[in-house]
Symmetry: none
Subunit: 234 residues, 4 copies
DNA sequence: CATGAATGAGTTTTCATTCAT
DNA sequence: TATGAATGAAAACTCATTCAT
C-alpha cells in the first residue's frame, strides 16, 4: 500500500455534453466565430433555467468549450446575459421590421392585409428556436433586467401595435372596417393579444398541451373580420 | 441595460427585518399559524426571484423567523415550493369557482353575461397580490415543476374555457350570437386571451408601462359583441 | 384566497418512532424511572451511530419523549454519553465480577475450569443487547472518550487477564498444565483473544456473516487443552 | 471521564495549515496527483473521526487545499468515503496477496512456515499508517457502508483463513501437525484471532497501553506449536 | 415535569470567477 | 487562445440547545 491510487470512476469530468467536434478541431477560433457560439449556448441555458438558475459551466458545456474561455469574451455572468439579450434582440428586431415592411408593402383589401398580419403573427409563434427562447427570457427576467422590458416595450409591443393600427387605418379608409376601429384605444392590443398569448401558453404548457394554433388562428381571424366589419351592427 | 442585475431593489440592504411583531421576543406559534406565514413569505420570494433565485434566508427574513425554522416545517427548498404552490392553488381554485358560479348564476341577455364575464376577468387582472404572484410562478417555473403546469391547464385554462363556452352557448340559444360561435374550436381561447395577456404584460412591463386595462377592456368587449353578433355579416 | 392554508402533508412531525405508549400514559414519570429509559435509548443510538452521528432527537424518539426533556436530565450530549457509559459500565462490571467469582468458585480439574471459562466467554459473545452495544461504543469512541478506554483497560482487559492467569496457575499447580504457562507473559491475552475477536467479527460482519461461534469455541478449547498440557512435547 | 470530548487533540487549534508546499502559491496539479492527495487526507480524517464526525473542511485542510476543490473530484462526502475505501482497499489487497505469496513460497518445515506466518501477521500489526486507518474505518463504519464489510470478509478474513489452512495442511501432510488440524472448522479463525485482536486493542487503548506485541507473538507461536503438534497428547 | 417550536452556529454543497499551465 | 484546476463567498441544510407555553 504505497501510493493511494486515483479512483477512476469518481474523479473529475462530470457534465461533458459538448456540442462541438473532437477536442482538436475545437481550438483556436477567431473571436468572431467563438462569440456567437457562446451566445447561442447562453441563450439556451438562460432561457431554460432563468438567470439565477443558469450555470456558466453549463453554458460552456453547451458551447463545447471550457468554462474559463467564456471569461475571455465576457467579463461576467451578468455581462453574458446582457450580450445575449442584445445579440438576440438584434435579429429579432430585424425580423420584426421585415414583417412590418412585408405587411406595409402589401396591396389588396384591408381584409387580406389583416389575414396576412395574423398569418405572420401565428407563423412567429409556430417557429421554434431563438425567438421562443427570447420570449422566455423576457417573461422570466424582465423584472430584473430592465433592458429586456425596454426591448419588449419598444421593439415588440409598440411596433406590433403600430402595424395593427396601420392595417386598421387602411381598412377604415377603404370603408371595409367600421370607423371606430381607428378611434378605439386599446383595440390594437386586444387584436394582437391572442397570438401572443398562444406563445405564452406554449411556454407554460409545452407544445403538446397548449391550445392548437391552427384553430386559434382561424377563429381569431374570423372574429376580427366580423368584429371590425363596417357592416356589422351588433 | 447599464448595470445588469437591476439593483436588487428592496431586499438588497441585507434582508429586511421582521414583519409584524417586535423583534425581541421569540414568539412560539402553533404550526397552524406559522405554516401559512412561511408559505406567504415563500410565495413572495419565489414569485419575485424565481425558484433558483430565491434564498431560504430571504424567505425566513420575510416571515420574520430564523432560517432553520423553515426546515422544521418543510424538508427542503423544493418541498417548500411544492407546498407553496399547493397552498396557493387551493384558494385560487376556490376563487375561480366562485367567479364561475357568479357568472353562471346571472340572468339577463347573453350580451350582459359576456360583459359580466369580461368584467370579472379584467377585475382579476387589476387585483394585486397572491394571484399575480401565482401567475408569475406558473409562467416562470411551470417547466421545472409540472404541478404548476397541471394546475394551470386543469384549473385555470380548461375552467375558463368552459365558462366562455357556456356563455357562447347561451347567446346562440337566445339568437343573440351567430351559430358558428359554438362550433368554432379555439374561439373560447381567442376570446379570453386578451385579458390573460394583459396580465402577462403587467408582469413584463409593470403596472405603469403595460397597456391600460380600462381601454383594453372596453375595446375587448366591443370587439366581441360585434364579432359574435348574429346580425353581423362581414 | 384570503388565508394561505397550512399544507397538511409537508408540515412538521417527521420521525415519530416512539417506543412508549400512548401520549397520555407517558407523562410525569419520576426521574428514577425516566433516567434509565433515556439512557437505554441513548446507548442504542450512540452504539448504532457513534457519538458524532447520534442525534439527540433520535434518542428522544427512541425513548418516546420530547427532545427537550432530555435536557432536564442531562445538560448536554457529551454528558449524556458520559452517563450512558457509566450506567452501562456498572452492570457490565458487576456481571464480569460475577463471572469471575463463578469461575473462581469452581472446583474440579484445571481443564474443567478452563472449559468453563471458555464457555463463559463465548456465552457473553453470544448474548445480544447492552454488552454488544457497549463494546461497539468502546471500539468506536475510546479514542475520543478516555473513560471508555480506561473502563476497557481496567475493568475488562485486566480482569479477564487475571482470571485466565488464575486458571493457568491452578493448572500448573495441579500438574495438568506445563509450568511455562504461568511464566509466559502475553499468554493470557493470547488465550482470551479469540473469544473477543469473535465479538469484533460479529460487530463488523453481523451475526450472519461472522465465523460460527460454536465451531470457534470447540476449536479454541481443543487447541488450548493441547497447547497447555504438561504432557505436550512439541 | 471528566471533560467529555477528549480535547480534540491535534486538529483543535483551528485546522492545521497545509501539508508540504508553501502556502502562498496556488498549485495546479494534475488530477492524478491531486486525487490521491485528497484520498490520503480523507482516510486520515475518516479514520480519526468516523464518517459522521469527519468534516470536509478538515479533509481539505489536511490536503492543503480549499474546501470547494474536493467537490471538483468527488460529488459528496459519502462518495469521498466510498472512493477512499476503494483506493485504500486496492493496495491493502495487493499487500495481503504479497504476504500470501511470501508464505506460500516458503520452503522448510511446517513449523517454520507457521512461525513465518505469525511473524508476518504481527509485523502488519506493528506497522503504523494506512492499514491501521483502514482497520479503524472498517470496524467503525462497516455497518453503514457495506462495501467495507464486504472487503473485510472477502479480502481479509477469507484470504487469511485460506493461508492458515494451507499451512495446517502442509503440517499435517509432513506429519508435524496432528491430523485433526485440517478437520477442525473454526480452527483457522482461532489461530489468527490473537494477532487481529492485538490490532483492535491498539485501536482501543493506543500503542502505549495495549498488550505488548512481542510477548503476545512469542506466547502465541509457542501455544500454537504445542497445540498443533502431532506428538501432543493432552 | 413535558413539549416541541425556535434559534444560531456550524456543516455540506454550489458556483461564479480566477489563474497556473 | 484555451483549459480546467483552484478559490472563496454564499447558499442549503443540520442539529444541539434554549425557552415559551
Amino acid at each position: 500500500m504505497t501510493g493511494m491510487p486515483a479512483t477512476d470512476d469518481a474523479a473529475a469530468g462530470q457534465m461533458q455534453e459538448q456540442r462541438g467536434a473532437d477536442p482538436e478541431t475545437r481550438r483556436r477560433l477567431a473571436p468572431a466565430e467563438r462569440t456567437p457560439q457562446i451566445l447561442e449556448a447562453a441563450l439556451e441555458e438562460f432561457a431554460e433555467r432563468g438567470y439565477a438558475g443558469a450555470r456558466m459551466a453549463a453554458v460552456a458545456a453547451r458551447a463545447g468549450i471550457a468554462k474559463g474561455l467564456i471569461y475571455h469574451y465576457f467579463p461576467s455572468k451578468a455581462a453574458l446575459l446582457q450580450a445575449t439579450v442584445r445579440a438576440c434582440t438584434q435579429p429579432a428586431f430585424e425580423e420584426l421590421e421585415q414583417a412590418e415592411r412585408r405587411v406595409a408593402g402589401m396591396s389588396g383589401s384591408a381584409r387580406d392585409l389583416l389575414a396576412a398580419l395574423i398569418e405572420v403573427a401565428y407563423a412567429r409563434v409556430r417557429k421554434e428556436g431563438r425567438e421562443r427562447h427570447l420570449l422566455r427570457l423576457i417573461v422570466t427576467e424582465a423584472e430584473h433586467f430592465p433592458e429586456l422590458a425596454r426591448f419588449y416595450r419598444e421593439e415588440v409591443l409598440s411596433r406590433a401595435t403600430a402595424v395593427v393600427r396601420a392595417v386598421l387605418r387602411a381598412g377604415v379608409a377603404s370603408g371595409e372596417f367600421a370607423p371606430e376601429a381607428v378611434e378605439t384605444p386599446g383595440l390594437a392590443e386586444v387584436i394582437m393579444a391572442p397570438a401572443m398569448m398562444a406563445s405564452v401558453w406554449r411556454m407554460i404548457l409545452g407544445e403538446a398541451d397548449a391550445p392548437a394554433l391552427e384553430r386559434m388562428q382561424a377563429a381569431h381571424l374570423d372574429l376580427l373580420l366580423k368584429g371590425l366589419a363596417a357592416s356589422c351592427k351588433p
